[in-house]
Symmetry: C2
Subunit: 273 residues, 2 copies
């Protein structure tokens, strides 16, 4: 089954477009966990236990685990084992390198860590993305227009009459013969998100930037979903996982996630009417 | 001392612009090493022992270590300890992410691994690069025009009358207030390298693509050096580290490295006359 179909299935099954970013920072987790042998893993276990019926995906950002030092990637591996098989995982590493090196990253992220999908940086062109698209079951979300302030520096530069990110959207569309290409468009750019959804009606779009980065949930749904109210993957990280710094952090994360999912469902219902 | 000055110093001291890429693949190292407890580390130790008086830098590509699985990053940490302190290290990870995440990568690569410099992907703009430039002693080589075939897909797109990579070169020049910005221009583009050197007379340029990727050494020196015959960092990986697959691999690597360094010295001498 192709990655795109897998995403449709889990979004239908869970009736949710929510992806939770497991960007865990030891300085931000509730203090009562710090006496555990492995506080980050304990934190992730409780977040996953409390939210897995509400999400279509979890997205750990590799930087946060790399920054934990020598045990970081082991903690990431253990975290991945806690995620139910039916929920998709997105290895957010934004990798990109020449062909023979990109193959190594694909091997590491898909075969060794076992991620279902990854984020990739397209700046180095097709041969840097190709190894991530070889297996139709595994997906690659290609950075197009990111949620941060720096997205204006190069991504919006005009190439002829089109902005650069649109050139990347068109390339992604061309590279989608295995039905496993996705795109990344920040929630902070709703107008552009709508335009991209028209160009690629059938491609998954990962939408970060809700919550702390102030992107709007309703407009992300309206602009980012396909005609079936699917294929938008709405990511929230800090606003959910750090909803409380007390002993109730997992419950608070669930409450926050549930609120988002209910708002999503309501917005999609309104779209359908 | 700024990163750029540190590079000048080691290039003067060693009279060399050579950087050896430690992109080690367990399938390619000499078979007689496979019975060692840690073949990759043994391989790196012998390569470094045999070549450290000939280089200004070593550049491990993180993908190769990540792809080794759970021990990969530990092997990389051990490898870094084998490199003499005066020789610069380049952590080739081509990272790039939103500001708060890029900070994590910078922390990991500079503070935890202890790299002197890194490669970064500029697609996400200034806030994705900034954390790598905070410490003047540590450098960041920003991808501009890479050595691979895919470099034509986006990097050469025209933005107004200039190609995109030149916009990135101009941004890098602007971001160089700490004298620690570098650029990456593939040896496969000598004409463009010459043009970039004219735009940034004082910025280090990492030049991969010599050897297996068929870039030319002489033209890379002629086009990439500053007026003092410095600041080009010429990388070779496979052509040196896999020069022989026999028991003489380290000696063969030294012979190959020495040949390159002598050709560099001769070319620079001709430039000066």
């Amino acid at each position: 089954m192709t990655f795109t179909q897998r995403l449709r299935n889990i979004q239908s099954k869970q009736n949710s477009l929510l992806c939770i970013g497991l960007d865990v920072d030891i300085d931000k987790i509730p203090p009562h966990l710090l006496s555990m042998e492995n506080p980050v893993l304990g934190f992730n276990r409780q977040i996953i236990d409390a939210t897995h019926d509400l999400v279509c995906a979890y997205k750990p950002n590799l930087a946060f685990y790399e920054a934990m030092g020598k045990d970081g990637f082991a903690i990431l591996r253990e975290t991945l084992k806690l995620i139910p098989k039916s929920i998709l995982t997105i290895g957010d590493g934004k990798r990109g390198d020449i062909g023979n090196t990109a193959e190594r990253y694909a091997k590491s992220l898909f075969d060794d860590f076992g991620f279902d999908s990854v984020t990739v940086n397209p700046y180095m062109g097709f041969d840097s993305v190709e190894p991530f698209l070889a297996n139709p079951e595994k997906g690659a979300f290609i950075l197009a227009l990111t949620s941060n302030a720096g997205s204006k520096d190069f991504q919006r530069l005009k190439v002829g009459i089109k902005p650069l990110y649109e050139k990347i959207v068109l390339a992604a569309k061309k590279w989608n013969s295995n039905q496993n290409v996705g795109l990344v468009i920040g929630a902070t750019h709703p107008k552009e998100l709508l335009r991209v959804r028209k160009i690629v009606p059938d491609i998954p779009i990962l939408i970060p930037g809700i919550g702390k980065q102030s992107g709007n949930l309703k407009s992300s749904i309206r602009c980012g979903c396909d005609k079936h109210g699917q294929l938008a993957v709405i990511n929230a990280s800090r606003s959910i996982i750090y909803a409380s710094s007390g002993k109730d952090f997992a419950e608070a994360a669930r409450t926050e996630a549930k609120k988002m999912v209910e708002e999503m469902r309501m917005t999609i219902e309104q779209l359908n009417n």
